[in-house]
Amino acid sequence: MQDFSYARATSRAEALALAAEGDTAILAGGTELLNWLRIGIAAPGRVVDISRTPGMDGVEALPGGGARIGALTRLNDAAQHPLIQHSYPVLSQAILKSASAQLRNLATIGGNPLQRVRCPYFRAEEPTPCNKRAPGSGCAALHGFNEKHAIFGWTEDCVAVQPSDPAAALAALDAVYVTERRDADGRRIPARSFHVLPSEDPTAHTVLEPGELIVSIEIAEPATRSAYLKLRERESYEYATVSAAVVLDLDGEVIRRARIALGSVAMRPWRLDEAERRLQGQRLGGPEVEAAVDAGFAEARPLSSNAYKIRLARNAVLRTLNLATRAS
């Protein structure tokens, strides 16, 4: 790890001011940043520690039925908060499956969606063809080991996936990342478009600008009929091969609205818009449900070694629809 200088922010204003300095990395939970520094993914001259900035953690109910989660809320605290557990089971489950108990005591809900791809080429300590590590160097995974890589939205310049579990749940919930900046107005960024597809910029991860801080995450109406399914080789403490977040609005047995986001299939949580459209008005368990979900995969494209992920993701969606139906 290169040496750097360090400052701890004592107020939100100070956090924004320090974060806006050039060559500065932001430390919240630290579970990603410290590894970036070790691997050489980041080498900032300065680190601003915002982890104790007052007023940026905790869960509160919003007037009108939503919830606001402070960006610095530790993952375990967010997942086990009664409001999240009861009103947003998809998010609580996604957070609890996202990492080990120890990591969830450090990592924050605002930091988690900022985690970078798990592509082993990206994470290598040695120089590797990777446009996210060295723009213009190419993508070694395109024709390399890509069993766990993208099936949606990839280009020849990057086939990696965004692995965040909470981000997938937040995308299904149509949550909003609320940001602030020192030199400009804050933004309200929809969770479903927070991450950047390689067709837009293969070197980018999120739409956040330097110095821009997520201060909170807002979710609208409760989503009690919701569920998260994470598939992986081992039972726990592993990144997803595929995950599915489903939020249902039912009228008896009929789907009034289904929202579906897949995790670890693209550089952003992937909403199955076409499937969602076709599921509207369908009866649960009816024969049209499978066809509707299949329609959501029309634009899926396998890489050299991951065709199985298309079927896996499709089956995961069907299973999670059932899980969400039974939730309440």
């Binding site: 750097f4 360090y6 100070e14 300095e21 630290g30 410290l34 520690d49 080990s100 108990a101 120890q102």
Partner: protein, 169 residues
């Protein structure tokens, strides 16, 4: 130079309470809590198995919560209370979790054991010992290559019973 820049410093004074003892150390900002414990305080119970948060061998309690010490900057832990495995036994008497690990043969090589025990203690105090499945899930952040997993789960359950019994008494 803008005023904010002066806030950044190349050395940090860190005051910590470790196992009840106060320490004041000057460190580079890049020094992790794990390396501070091991290299500066010679508390080598917490182990470096991966240095990436991927194994749990460095698990300690930070203000009572279990964390991977390899992912905490010492500077960030300023003012915090740290409990390591060395701080559990009192007056030569093993902590119930330590005793349960021995009784249930919940370790072999012992390298992950410090982290397992700290994680087990937290798992019990967090209330995640309701079932064998719950214990296993909440103990999955601690890898054990000797694979003493079933015995670890038994030990956590037994220690949870012991601790609630002694609390009730």
């Amino acid at each position: 130079m803008c005023p904010e820049e002066t806030r950044f410093s190349a050395r940090c004074l860190v005051r910590l309470t470790v196992n009840g003892q106060s320490h004041e150390l000057e460190v580079e900002p890049r020094v992790t809590l794990l390396d501070l414990l091991r290299e500066r305080l010679q508390l080598t119970g917490a182990k470096k198995g991966c240095n990436r948060g991927e194994c749990g061998a460095c698990t300690v309690l930070l203000d009572g919560r279990r964390v991977n010490a390899c992912l905490v900057l010492a500077a960030s832990a300023e003012g915090c209370a740290v409990t390591t495995v060395e701080g559990l036994a009192q007056d030569g008497r093993l902590h119930p979790v330590q005793q349960a690990f021995i009784e249930h043969d919940a370790f072999q090589c012992g390298f992950c054991t410090s982290g397992q025990i700290m994680s087990a203690l937290a798992c019990i105090t967090e209330g995640h010992t309701g079932s064998n499945a719950e214990i296993r899930e909440w103990m999955s952040g601690n890898l054990c290559r000797c694979a003493a997993y079933p015995q670890i789960a038994e030990a956590v359950a037994a220690a949870a019973r012991d601790m609630s019994a002694s609390e009730a008494a």
